[in-house]
């Protein structure tokens, strides 16, 4: 196997703005805060940045800010800029930055995702919360969902969770283990939205949103911005905080690009993006020290665990039940920042930030000897993942 081009890239800086349920600040204000912190964290200045990459770019869901707004705000001089939603999930922005660096289009790319959903910046008439609520009206990929009141990703993902329960015997207690684990970890995260202790009984008692998904299966809207600096590996020795290597990216979408017509109702496109990531590396699931896996809805994390091979198909329920395997001191420390369920819906980038902190050894709940981390983000037909290492890959 020729060395995958993404290994030319490292993550040299990572930072977040203030994060809260509601900050009542503009998306670009939060973005500038995160960007300047990340650039400083990387030991660079604004003048060193020659690329910007973001998800989802202009007009995207959950508010935020565009690459052009940040470009203008800090008056970067760029060799490359990209921002688009039709990519390998939220992490697609990071994937493209790594490849732009490998191609020599840029040397230091500022990558960000900003959300102002908590303040309601992205809410629109007729829109639901999450996914396609604000997208494309009735003529887009949701044209046979919205007319039936299935306007939220909660509805669509509930259908997959139900089918997974039907085929494999997955239980609500097992789904709840994802939420309880996230809440336990969030207690150590000063920026987390929800930190009050939660038990599995609390989970089972809360109201249903879209059966079998209850309120605690759904992540919490918030305001905040996450930024990372992706640099050429040649900069690695000069990074003040230590380089995080990009070992492999996962981008495949082999099934139909649809929430309702995908070929298998017990998994989603992470089946494909995860498989394509493992095809690009000598590392295996057994090498992974921590997993930061999307939990916009708790069932998505189960799907990611199976897709990445941390357990067999259908076995994610028993794998997470009781929480011992996935605890911060368990076999596979999972979502150690509190996930989106308790840490806030930073739309994939909270997981990326945490993976960088774990590999540097500076996380709030550090995983001992953390050398390899996997990040998986997204659900439905929009997913992507990446394998990161302490030091160069």
């Amino acid at each position: 196997m020729p060395e995958p081009l993404e290994r030319q890239a490292i993550i040299s800086g990572a930072a977040q703005s203030d994060i809260a349920r509601r900050l009542h600040r503009s998306g670009i204000d939060l973005t500038v805060e995160a960007a300047l912190r990340a650039i400083d964290d990387a030991g660079l200045t604004v003048a060193d940045i020659d690329g910007i990459s973001t998800y989802p770019g202009w007009g995207g869901s959950f508010g935020g800010a565009s690459g052009a707004e940040l470009h203008e705000a800090l008056r970067f001089s760029l060799n490359w800029r990209d921002g688009a939603a039709e990519t390998s999930g939220q992490l697609g922005a990071v994937h493209k930055a790594a490849l732009a660096i490998a191609a020599g289009l840029a040397r230091h790319v500022l990558v960000f995702r900003t959300v102002v959903e908590g303040s309601g910046g992205a809410l629109r008439a007729g829109g639901g919360s999450g996914g396609g609520g604000g997208m494309a009206g009735g003529a887009g990929p949701f044209q046979f969902l919205i007319p039936y009141g299935a306007v939220s990703a909660a509805n669509w993902i509930a259908c997959y969770a139900r089918r997974h329960m039907h085929e494999y015997g997955t239980t609500r207690e097992q789904l709840g283990a994802i939420a309880v684990n996230a809440r336990a970890n969030a207690a150590a995260n000063p920026k987390a939205i929800y930190t009050d202790p939660m038990t599995i009984d609390d989970y089972l008692a809360v109201r249903m949103v879209s059966d079998p998904l209850c309120l605690y299966d759904c992540d919490v809207p918030c305001d905040g911005s996450t930024a990372v600096v992706v640099s050429h590996r040649g900069y690695g020795p000069d990074t003040p905080a230590g380089a995080v290597g990009v070992n492999a990216i996962g981008t495949a979408i082999r099934g139909r690009p649809s929430w309702d017509q995908f070929d298998d109702l017990t998994t989603m496109a992470m089946r494909d993006s995860a498989a394509s990531m493992w095809d690009r590396t000598e590392l295996t699931a057994a090498d992974v020290d921590t997993a930061q896996l999307y939990d916009g809805f708790s069932w998505l994390t189960l799907a990611w665990l199976e897709a990445l091979g941390f357990c067999s198909r259908g076995e994610s329920g028993p794998f997470v039940e009781g929480g011992a395997n996935i605890a911060s001191v368990g076999r596979l420390p999972l979502n150690t920042w509190g996930g989106q369920l308790s840490g806030g819906r930073l739309h994939g980038f909270g997981f990326l930030h945490e993976a960088v902190m774990q590999l540097r050894g500076t996380a709030q709940l550090p995983v001992a000897g953390c050398e390899v981390a996997v990040v998986g983000a997204g659900g439905g037909p929009e997913t992507g993942c990446m394998l990161l290492t302490r030091g160069l890959s």
Binding site: F144, G149, A150, M208, S210, D211
Partner: protein, 151 residues
Amino acid sequence: MNEITAAGNEPASEPAPVPPRFIVATAHSDFYWRSGVDDILRIQRCGKCGRWIHPPGPVCPYCHSRRLGPEPVVGTGTVATFTVNRKEWIPGFMPPYVFALVALDEDPAIRLGANIIGCEPEEVEIGMRVEVLFEKNGEWYVPLFQPEGRA
């Protein structure tokens, strides 16, 4: 005092209110939302290879023929999965309601999104046999499903 009418001969009451559905028909999907005018469900079918296609589009994804058209189906299928929605996302679209993906008998790989009516939400289960019926909603005939044989 209103005129008393014989049982079974009441003046026509107002039709039951229907939920706001935000249907946007496209050049390809328009037939789907009008098909129920004669109580028949139609699905796009390839005129060359005969495969059923959903959502309807501009080309057969199997043989790439562009000779496509709506054709009647029996209108029966099986609940592949479903959710009981408990939250009012859209003003006037009142929970609880069942959103299901119905695997069509003619090709179970085709799943029609729909509400299941005519039974309690708690009665719906994966594998349940269902049949189409139509809701008149403005200019549209919205395909819905109910348990088979309940009509």
